[in-house]
Every structure is written in structure tokens, then in C-alpha cells.
Amino acid sequence: MSTTSGSGGARPWTQRIGVVALVLAALATGRAITHSFPVEGRIEAPFVRDSAVGEPVRLRYADVEAGEPAGARELDAGGTTLTSPGVWLVVPVRMTARGEPRTLAYAAVRGSDGTLYVAGGFGRGGFAPGTAQPGVPREADVAVELPADAVAGAHLLLALDPDDHRRDDLADIDLGLTQADVERWTDGAPPVTFRDAADAGATASADASGDGS
């Protein structure tokens, strides 16, 4: 750092003020930039893969496909009938793990009201697919109850980790539901069934498929 010599106190004083002003300006600019571009949320956001009913979607850890959703006021789950003041929505999901066995642990329905209705069990619905072996498709149901006016336009979300979706794939499947579906379901439709998870094409006895030994 060079020291000024000669002309007395005036120049060093203004130089110092100038440096301080520049530093403050730089800090203020930096703060304004980080404030106006909310990077934090984007760095941690999940990678959302959009899809629709019947369209397989490729995630990092599995290929998943949602079947036609069904709904009613009542859900038949393992012999127990659960009645809802809203609508029980059951979506069949078919998943094929990739790379290593996967246990998908998150399913939720994002209603048209923007609320996330997570299939969390507590004895009312849920999503329990168990462990899927890579290459062996597995079928499981997602059962969620939600208010009737949130059903039309609802989306199904599927992910691997039950709580942490940062920086990993998340499937966002448009269920293609309309108000007509809701009216059909709330107007005395028979109860929907929540089936236990199973490997697709599982047979009760050994399969006689023609592969040799």
C-alpha cells in the first residue's frame, strides 16, 4: 500500500472516504442481487418430471406410471370401510426400479386448491408399495381423501424419500380429473378398493413361462 506523500491531510482523507464508499456500494449491490434472485429455493428444488395418466415417466430411481384413478365416498381397505365427507381417490401405480431395489415412500395429491394431500396412512389410506426389485414391475395403490372441490385438476406426486425431495427426481402426474368425475363419484358410487402391493403378474403358483433352466 503506497502512502501519499506531500500535500498534507486533504488527499488521504478523501481517498479513505472514497474506499469506504466503494466498499459499501459493493456490499449493497451484492445484497440487492441475492435478494432479487432467490437462488436458495432453486438450488434445492426437486427435478419435477411431468406426465399424465397412462404415460410412463422415467425417474432416476424408477420408471413409474399412473393408471386410471377411481373415486367414491367410501374406501374399502383390507376389510375395513372408511367413509369420507370428501372424496376417496385411489390411483393405481406401476413402478419398475432401476439400478438397485427401491422402496418408494412418498405419494401425495396436489389438489386444485394448491393443498398437498399426502398419502400418509394413519389408518386412512396411504401408499405402501414395499421394495421393488429392478426390472420386476410392482403395482400399488395410492389412496388419499380430499375435499370434493379440490379433486378436479388434481395432480399425483411420487418420490423416493418420504421427507426430502431436494435435488432428486419427483414425478408430477396430471390425473385428468374433471368436475363430472367428482359428481359421478359423490353420487352413490360403490366403494373404491385399496389393494395390497404386489409384483405385476404375480401368480399364485409357480409360473409356467417357457424359460429354460
Partner: protein, 211 residues
């Protein structure tokens, strides 16, 4: 001109230390690589050729401290089960998949806890097909609770420290010094199995060549 050469000379030690500082900074901030990557998966492979005995030396920590684990294992054979054989061993296989029976011979001290092991098949792409434990009521010889110890004589469990005293004693016979297990793994039809993986504590695992 000479000023530039002077600069190099004045700063030679700092410049020499720069790569060292860079490596040290990277090392200091990568301590999580061990916890979140190395110890959280199968990364320390101990490979063995087909039909060879392999002796695994590893450690485990239980309620009484850290102990050595020495196990000898050999892959005898892998065989795809025919539908008739599947009916005999009462294993269900979904369509598009087949059942591979893995025959392993193992030798270990009868006092060594070994029941908490995991078994998998791995194909040429690196896809892993795990042995899946049956539910409590579905245990058979082809689908045992543990794929690496005999069903009737699994041997001791890992110590729980002071809780050992309140646990009821295991009345089963001790595990033999050498035994054979034949668990069945379900894989898709198009899987080309390359290796059998056996592990107790990540990252250490034994990879046995199938061919």
C-alpha cells in the same frame, strides 16, 4: 523486465505452497465424502474368482466393543429354477422374472454373529438384485430369514451390551463350523448375472464371480 523476475523470486515459496494449500483445502472440506458416500454403499470390493474359497477379514462393533469378523465363503453354483423346482421350493415368481438359486458354502467360528447379512446378484450393467427377506409367516428353506446362515442354527446375535442379561437365552443348537445355504433371488428374465454380492457392513462386500 527485471521487476517481473523479481516478483517470481519474491513469491517463489508462496507459489510452491499454492498447490499444497489447494489440496489441503479440498481434503479439509471433503470429510463428508467418507460418511455420505464411502460408508453409505458398497465401495470396498473384495473379489474372488469362480469356485474359489475367499476369506473375508472385517470388523464389527456391537454392545461389547469392536471385534474381528473372519468368514470363509465360496460360491458353489447359481442355477435358474425350473417351474417344477419352483413348485417344490414353494417360491412364487411373477411373469417376466425367474428365480436364481445361489448355493454358498461358508466357514466361520460358531461364536461369530453372522445372521445380519445381505445377499444380492449383480449384472454386467451394475444393476443390483437383492435377496428379499420373506414376511414372518413365509419363511421356507429357499426363502430363509437370513441368506447366509442355516435357518435352524443361525448362531449368536450381536451383543447388546448390558441388555444381554435380560434377554432369554437362545436354546437352539450352535451353528456348525461349516455349512451350505441355498437362498433364491428373483431377477427379471433379461438379467445377465455376473457376480454374487454378500455383505455385512457397508462399504465392505464380497463379490464372487458367477462364471
Amino acid at each position: 523486465m527485471s521487476g517481473r523476475r523479481d516478483w517470481w523470486r519474491r513469491n517463489r515459496w508462496a507459489l510452491a505452497a499454492l498447490p499444497v494449500a489447494l489440496v489441503a483445502a479440498l481434503a479439509a472440506s471433503s470429510d463428508r465424502v467418507a460418511t455420505y458416500y464411502w460408508h453409505a454403499g458398497l465401495h470396498d470390493a473384495r473379489t474372488a474368482g469362480h469356485g474359489e474359497w475367499f476369506e473375508l477379514h472385517d470388523e464389527y462393533t456391537d454392545g461389547k466393543g469392536t471385534h474381528e469378523r473372519v468368514v470363509r465363503v465360496r460360491l458353489d453354483r447359481t442355477a435358474v429354477l425350473t417351474p417344477a423346482a419352483l413348485r417344490q421350493v414353494r417360491v412364487e415368481v411373477p411373469s417376466g422374472a425367474r428365480a436364481v438359486q445361489v448355493t454358498l458354502s461358508l466357514e466361520a467360528d460358531p461364536d461369530l454373529p453372522l445372521a445380519l447379512c445381505r445377499l444380492a446378484l449383480r449384472d454386467a450393467d451394475g444393476t443390483r438384485y437383492d435377496y428379499q427377506r420373506p414376511g414372518a409367516g413365509e419363511v421356507t428353506t429357499a426363502r430363509p430369514m437370513s441368506p447366509c446362515v442355516p435357518g435352524d442354527t443361525p448362531g449368536p446375535s450381536e451383543s447388546l451390551g448390558r441388555l444381554d442379561e435380560v434377554l432369554s437365552a437362545d436354546e437352539r443348537d450352535p451353528r456348525p463350523r461349516s455349512w451350505t445355504v441355498e437362498p433364491v433371488v428373483v431377477v427379471p428374465d433379461d438379467a445377465r448375472v455376473d457376480e454374487v454380492l454378500l455383505w455385512w457392513r457397508e462399504p465392505v462386500y464380497v463379490a464372487l464371480d458367477v462364471d
